[in-house]
Symmetry: C2
Subunit: 197 residues, 2 copies
């Protein structure tokens, strides 16, 4: 079984890949707009996993950014992009996974949205961290990964969407819509093992 794990370079999506890797053939997938270069392929190599990049059309970004500006907050737009990314990955993989956790707010599909994705796309949608609380995740991450923490260090949707919003609507809109700081994590190395089975 081959699973495409949506990958931002951060600790959650990497941990999701780690947890699946003994049981299915994991490929990391970055779904983005190609606005900002990233080193996802290099990180995948360090993790010992195969990697694919899927580009979404620029119109999707501009439409989502417009709705975020209208909403005045980012969560609905981030959920929308995440659903599109999952559907796109479902066109390639029989199993699609992500790093969403029990305590996340966005992106986060409801149980009925998860079932709709599975039924609509004929895919198995897997969230290895959905039943995991913060402290257990932190303990696993500390045990397995070397992690860099900082502003915009990885390549989740928000980094590119902020940039697109900045270009179209200006810095003030970014300031209005998004939290001031965008603290992220980025996995730099494995402490214990090589992933993959």
């Amino acid at each position: 079984m081959k699973a495409g794990v949506l990958f931002s370079g951060g600790k959650d999506s990497t941990l999701a890949a780690l947890l699946l890797s003994p049981f299915v053939d994991v490929e990391l997938v970055t779904v983005n707009f190609g606005i900002i270069p990233n080193d996802a392929a290099d990180i995948a190599r360090i993790l010992g996993l195969s990697y694919k990049s899927l580009d979404l059309e620029a119109e999707i970004a501009t439409s989502v950014v417009e709705s975020m500006v209208t909403d005045g907050f980012p969560n609905s737009g981030i959920n929308e992009i995440h659903r599109i990314a999952l559907e796109r990955a479902a066109g390639i993989y029989a199993i699609v996974a992500d790093g969403t956790r029990r305590d996340d707010r966005a992106p986060m599909l409801s149980v009925s949205e998860a079932r709709s994705l599975e039924d609509g796309c004929g895919v198995k949608y897997v969230r290895p961290l959905l039943g995991y609380g913060r402290s257990f995740i932190d303990e696993l991450v500390a045990g397995y990964f070397e992690v860099l923490y900082g502003e915009c260090v990885s390549f989740d949707y928000e980094v590119e969407l902020r940039e697109i919003m900045r270009t179209i609507y200006g810095e003030e809109s970014v300031f209005d819509v998004f939290p001031k700081h965008h603290q992220q994590s980025k996995v730099m190395a494995l402490k214990k093992c090589q992933l993959g089975n």
Copy 2:
């Protein structure tokens, strides 16, 4: 890290143990009332995992059975027993896990109940299957386990609670409160590997 995985002998709790076993030291735990003998220790041996049995007091069973008869349905009572079982296991293990799945109705803790359990008992509560849909679970189960399917083949709460209700309130109450059939699964052997790390 040692995790106590609540174990009914069925495919879900066994799969939860399998998924955790590469990452933490798993012990299977059966929490029940000691009414009906079970072969949990033998199954644990087949799986290559250590095993512990925790007995709950008979008064808990009679109180829960009474509330089920009052309710006219079993789910609230099964949730109540499950919370008690998790709290009891949390007295022994730093990590407590179970086999509840995305599509389960009972037992099932809400996200806020899961957080309360963690905060109240100082435990990490882990549900490895919570982000897994039925078809992926079925595929993993078919790949890893030999499974027996049938009426009351494993030893979940319902088997003992039905028996206690039958003794106190008679067969008719069992018929009124529970579904007519209690289809279960029981893991008989591993196909691929020995669990444990």
